[in-house]
């Protein structure tokens, strides 16, 4: 999978967690999940689980702490996929 397809997968995951007044078209690589996309911080836990399911990887607590933006998530996914190989 390319970076672009990871990005699309991630956007698809994030979509359901967006509040009503934030549209999916507003999501960019730089978007901060909580401060910009207004995602409820409790839902970050659920996004992590969805990412794990989508890629068959396991994210640790430190990964979650570092996952502030969409870009952070992409970096962590790529890193986990490399480790898996």
């Amino acid at each position: 999978m390319t970076n672009q397809s990871h990005y699309e997968t991630l956007k698809e995951i994030v979509k359901i967690y967006l509040p009503e007044d934030v549209s999916i078209s507003e999501v960019t690589e730089e978007s901060n999940f909580i401060s910009e996309l207004n995602i409820n911080s409790a839902n970050l836990v659920d996004i992590i689980l969805d990412v794990e399911d989508a890629y068959g990887i396991t994210l640790e607590n430190e990964d979650m702490e570092q996952m502030k933006t969409v870009k952070d998530a992409l970096r962590i996914v790529n890193q986990k996929l490399l480790e898996k190989q």
Binding site: I16, Y17, E20, A42, N43, V45, D46, L49
Partner: protein, 423 residues
Amino acid sequence: MRVVITGLGVCAPNGVGLTNFTHSLKYGICGISFHQELADLGFGCQIAGKPEITDFDMDNNFTPLERKGLNSSGLVYGFIAGAEAWADAGLKPMGKDKPDWDSGVIFGTGILGTDKFRESIHLIDSKKTRRLGSTSVMQTMASGISAYLGGKLGLGNQITTNSSACATGTEAIILGMERIRSRKAKIMLVGSCSDSGPYIWGGFDAMRILPTQYNSDPLRASRPMSATAAGFVPGSGAGALVLESLDHAMARGATIYAEVLGGAVNSGGQRGNGSMTAPNSEGVQRCIQAALSDANLNKNEIDVINGHLTATSKDADEISNWSKALGRSGKDFPYINTTKSLVGHCLAASGSVEAVASVLQFKEEMVFGNSNCDDLHPEILKRVDVTKIPLKTISYNPNMIAKASFGFGDVNACIIFKAYKPD
């Protein structure tokens, strides 16, 4: 401070929503059915009352995110009923910025989200606690239902969940009435809910207080007041009422179903003939009399009773207690009915589902009929004339309806509704 009912909502085994529920009550349509799941698990009683929730109901009430991982039937029933009552009262959820500080929620339950809790236990036992996700707590905390309703509607007054076994729903209405009377709130959304499924009903099956001989004949299984009553049929669902101060309701031109004239709760203390599972008769009579006194009523003013009447051997005792508390018998006894012959015993939801059924009788100008008691218990016939226990819905204008519920722990709750007539 007078308190009135301006909205109703219901999620019952024989009807989700007021229109369906009213139709079922009028025509004696029963919501009890056989459940293969209970048979597969080796239950003695394989029938139950369970509301039929459609995808349409789910889409109408929950966002895709809320539906994700949602596995708490009581929460679903409670929210559907509560949201219906709020809309029925002509009220809307608050906007994003500010709650309604004068409106609150008292919505009871016995235990919430048993299926979600089971799912969580399996994950924890297989060392996957981190896989529980973020909603396990709010789907399984008892106050999940009041928190959910309060949050979705944006209410800023008291938001709480009461729990008093099968008296929960009736107690919630009394607590809401008291809060408005004491001028601490203008509107209270009150009611109760109870989960469906084997993990709720199993304990009762184990106590052998459920009927086992009607698995192939579910419509005849729930037989309150009958000589052949064989135990209560387990049920589930939710009922909701919007209570409001009369002044507030009139100022906004709300439609008023009835007045909540008074109520009382007590316990028989598990003394005398009372125990964890059976009511102390004196406690029941005192509760009924305290409700009358709170409502400032004479014993002869009640013209309709909606009983607790579960379909056990205790039904005759309950009738005897009403008769003694009101000092009335034979043809002088009020009309009496039980909603349980059509929905089973909805446990923590029973009081609120049955209160909604009781109050609908004012609007419909009817007393809803009793099913499955054409063979009335002889001890009941000694106290009450047969004409006071209608087998079919009758045309009648109720003035004062008493509704009582009794629960494990020897706890009692009795409430009085009065037909509302503008001055």
